[in-house]
């Protein structure tokens, strides 16, 4: 059985870019343990005969690679939290 401990939750939260409070960590550790228990029922399934193939029933559609303008730059910047001179401003990414 897969064990979910707080260390696992810490690691996964870091991968998912989430900060969790201590209460949340405790809650999710317990809840995920229950959910994992439910999904581990898959282990009783016989999948030895199942091969995964790409669904060939539908052709992969292609279209001409033509430049199109669906959005106006100004419209998109209008909904940005912090637009600056035509760009998205973000906090610093390099050390001084």
């Amino acid at each position: 059985m897969t064990v979910i401990d707080q260390e696992t939750i810490d690691h996964v939260a870091k991968l998912a870019r989430l900060d969790l409070t201590d209460a949340e960590k405790e809650q999710y550790t317990q809840e995920l343990t229950n959910i994992i228990q439910l999904i581990e029922s898959l282990n009783t399934m016989d999948v030895s005969q199942v091969t995964l193939e790409l669904d060939a029933s539908q052709e992969v559609p292609f279209r001409e690679d033509l430049p199109q303008q669906r959005f106006d730059r100004k419209d998109l910047l209008k909904i940005a939290p912090e637009p600056e001179e035509g760009f998205f401003r973000v906090p610093k990414i390099l050390e001084n």
Binding site: A16, L20, L38, I39, Q58, I79
Partner: protein, 498 residues
Amino acid sequence: MMKTTRTALELHEAIQSGQQTALSVLDDVYNKIAEHEPAIEGFNCLTQELARETAREVDRRVQVGETLPLLAGVPIAIKDNINIKGYPTTCSSRILEGYVSPYDATVYQKLKQHLMPVIGKTNLDEFAMGSSTETSALKITKNPWDLSRVPGGSSGGSAAVVSANMVPLSLGSDTGGSVRQPASLCGITGIKPTYGLVSRYGLVAFASSLDQISPFGQNVKDTAALLQVISGADELDSTSIKNHPEPNYLQCIDQDISDLRIGVIQELQNDAIQPEVLKSIQDAVQTFESLGATTQPVSLPSFQYAVAAYYILATAEASSNLGRYDGVRYGQRVEEPDSDLHTMYRKTRSQGFGPEVKRRIILGTFCLSSGYYDAFYAKAEKARELMRHELRKAFEQVDILVCPTSPSTAFKIGEKLNDPVNMYLSDIATIPVNMAGIPAISIPCGFDQQHLPIGLQLMGPHQSEARLFQAAYAFEQKTGLCNLIPDLKIPPKSEPLI
């Protein structure tokens, strides 16, 4: 009580013939909303200006004698995870507070081409993650049949406003049952079409391989007409079905079903299902027999793995799809002075997402993380393949499969919110349909002892919507259940609302 107002198709005819103007139809709708919305709380916002503009155009065209497109003038509500340019799309999440869509979803373009006034956007579980609409960060929508109960979810707002007879039609989205389960709990019709029949462009992504925009209606014909309006290939959605013949479900909807072969799913006939629901499904099977259809039991053993496999695949896709909410390009940003980029990401996401969304992002990230991928994700894909295989085999024997839509009728607000496993099991009968990409419709088939609606689910093979509508329509004609609507004049039961 009996419904006395016009159906969507009757409204359309009345508008076309000049008996009623589209604007007066719209006034009726907004009057009903003013009356019932305070108790139901199904809407996140109303789009009156937009609706009036469309209605005026309809009336202008009627005056000059134009023939209107199908359903023109009929008001519709849409789930608040579908984009309309210039209007908010909240997904009932704090993280999208203040967001105004810069583009239209393809389905909205289609509604516009058909001159259907969009009257408002409806509440949902946050990012469509839930089965009760309680995970919404904005409000708790009530079930019109009993205001102390949930309307189901995630498209609970869209189901409740149609059930309460505020508006005749609405759109939801169905990833694991999010249209069929609320249709069942609210006593209306909802169909999840074949994957790819309706464009997903402009629907906020939850689990892209499962999501499908899906219509609600107060009866089978109205719902069929709406699906006719919104379906079709779209070059902006590479998963939309190409070369699909333009559907005309209405033309052959009253076809005789005496040659129909029906399979009754054995795995959904057990003690996990509320006894009154089981009984009602058995009665429904007899009704089909009385209409000349033949029935037989069908076993689909892989269905027992459906919920497990779904919660791996859907959360894995969600954890990836929701990576885009990072506070950079749109939506909320939470930033402290001198914080670096990663801190901004974490603060934004932690404060913007609610508990269920975080729970699913964590589960999905876990299932995809190094060392667990094969044990979870790869195995779930195999379960999905097994389900597809079993369904293909079953549809060699029968035309449609029947089962309950939901294992129980509407549950109490708060009853399952803190028990995620129990909540997830609400979708046990609907999930396999999304996993296989097939269509399924939920229609009312009776009431339990507390007078809460029970839903019957009919599934068919890929692109069998016409057949499903015929079967559902024949059943509806026989039972007349679509004419019953909740009596909202009766005060809610004495238990306190949460």
